[in-house]
Symmetry: C2
Subunit: 354 residues, 2 copies
């Protein structure tokens, strides 16, 4: 029987506080469903490590974590201490690029006990996935500055879309849509304004759609699409977007369902050539770090996504069910959701209900 | 006493239906406040014109409308008949570029009678401006495709930010913030992911802020900023963003206040070297065109913005007041807002209350 090897990286701030709760729940689910998991702990990809070593990760970081079955990641970044382009580009974005995690997958689901900022929406009304391209697009490193410090100064940055990059994310999204009861895919575009890359994106969507006759699909310009997330969140099933559009939609979506504080995400290499990274959508939250009040649900739910990715569907489902039951009890929710549990109490509650 | 000369361009679809109501209200307000306005009507920048002439506008379009005090514009575009890159880039975006309308200004205001999709928000709670850069940024025409129809195919498109372009929009936004009671400016960025142009934007914001010590300012990455529009719309006063970010925020904002159907906008050349264009945020809406049911409020409110721009503050304010009173009456609102008035009845109601 296979034993999964998971690399655990808490990172910074509340990452360090939510990881233990995530592990507690993973262990409970693994035990209950007879899944064998082994955890290896790493201290790099953090400000502490950077302070000691002058770099975010050791030179042989790929050797250290590249053979694991998955990476369970807390949060990285502490803007007051270290600039984003070092902390994020030296860890999170490096993983995405160098482990070719070209899918960023995030659920948008209204959960029991979580008040939605939208009027008259209840659990069940909002339940879709955002599929984000995670390696190219608007996050390219091609560009530069000319005539610095003069009136003629200008900067440029290229958006880059490759056939390989666009087609593989669309394939993933269409496959996901096809596997769901509604079989509905929505593509985010802006071809009326961004006149070169976005029409290309549309063209590839149309080509891919040919191969999925069972999938109904539509497209919206990103401006009106964000409006429709607020006005008609029930319209969506699978939403696919470029790196930037996916980034926006996968924060806006969780906000529409109440809070980004509980949203999970997977940075996935579907072929399994490299480990995938599972992390909460929230960041390291320096403002509340160290107080023991962070909401661990995003981390725990990311663990469920990790088990799902590994093929352990039952264990994954039992965690999601336990999250729903925990959120449904005011005394077990954390304070950001109007409850009165602290991080550990909330984590223990989920672990017990698994 | 000055007589204002306004170029009127209905364009396509419901543009043709809402323009007459906009003019009705403008005439009523002008009469009441002793403002002299003359309207010149133009049929170009429309599908009809294109069908007849094979182009969106006559060659001498600048001579025809370039000396007017402002342009009052309905809506353009009819994707089923004519591709966006011809209709939009041949009119709307041409105006913005060639008349150097570098400010796109849109109010986000929760109005009486308009149900907000957000829970527990009432008129007065949401009241801010989105200031969008309107000539450069992500809407550049620099880029292209290589290795077409092969597996190596890729496309690139540059985002271009010039010192001139960035500084002048920031100056406009800081001036606006300084003129308001809250004196609060929020900048939309994404410097943690878009690592060349966005840090430049941040740098210019910081430099400009030095000149406005009375203005409190902050910045958010666009992903969490869209989330905060939904979760905390009361946080904002003036929000400034690049062409793309401003585009997104100025659809999302109006959606949070109930509908993009009533939102107005100005495409402004603040120096007055060229006429500014005032148009509703909604498009030509082919699906409801010809039925007489379109909501004319976006067009009417755009007229108020036009008068304000021309310096006729009282006439402008009287229109906004009349809009509020009209929206407050169920029988005077159009059907999209749960009322039962048609386009003309709603327009007449506003004109009477001016
Ligand atoms: C029609 C389109 C090109 C335009 C834009 O993106 O600028 C529209 O969305 C707007 O906001 O005026
Ligand atoms: C931290 C930042 C670079 C990152 C992104 O934009 O990809 C984050 O917002 C995310 O969504 O994971």
């Amino acid at each position: 029987k296979k034993q999964y090897r998971i690399a655990v990286i808490p990172g910074d701030g509340i990452g360090k506080e939510v990881i233990p709760e995530g592990l507690r729940v993973l262990e409970a689910a693994a035990k209950k469903h007879g899944v064998a998991v082994h955890f290896d702990h790493f201290d790099f990809a953090s400000w502490d490590y950077y302070e000691k070593h002058g770099e975010m990760m050791p030179e042989d970081w790929k050797a250290k974590i590249g053979k694991h079955d998955a990476i369970y990641f807390g949060a990285v970044g502490w803007p007051a201490k270290i600039p984003d382009h070092i902390s994020l580009w030296g860890s999170l974005i490096k993983f995405r690029r160098e482990f070719d995690q070209y899918v960023n997958l995030r659920p948008v689901r209204l959960m029991p006990g979580v008040p939605s900022p939208l009027a008259n929406r209840k659990p069940g009304d909002i339940d879709f996935w955002v599929v984000r391209e995670n390696t190219e697009g608007e996050y390219s490193s091609v560009g530069g500055r000319m005539f610095p410090d003069t009136d003629r100064e200008f900067v440029t940055q290229q958006t880059v879309m490759t056939r390989t990059g666009v087609d593989r994310i669309l394939k993933f999204a269409f496959d996901l849509a096809q596997s769901r009861p509604k079989k509905h895919l929505t593509s985010a575009t802006k071809s009326n304004g961004i006149s070169i890359t976005m029409p290309y994106w549309d063209e590839r969507v149309e080509a891919m759609a040919q191969k999925y006759p069972a999938v109904k699909w539509d497209k919206y310009h990103i401006d009106i699409l964000t409006a429709n997330f607020v006005l008609h969140p029930d319209w969506f099933d699978v939403v696919v977007g470029s790196n930037l559009f996916g980034d926006i939609l996968s924060d806006l979506g969780p906000a529409c369902t109440g809070t980004i504080g509980i949203a999970p995400s997977g940075n996935i290499n579907p072929e399994g050539n490299f480990p995938s990274v599972f992390e909460p959508v929230h960041g390291s939250a320096p403002d509340i770090a160290g107080q023991g009040i962070a909401n661990p649900i995003g981390m725990i739910w990311s663990g469920a996504m990790m088990l799902e990715h590994l093929g352990e569907k039952q264990a994954a489902a039992s965690i999601v069910g336990a999250i729903e039951r925990t959120l449904g009890e005011r005394t077990l929710r954390t304070r950001d959701l109007g409850g009165n549990a602290d991080t550990v109490a909330c984590g223990k509650a989920v672990a017990e209900m698994v």
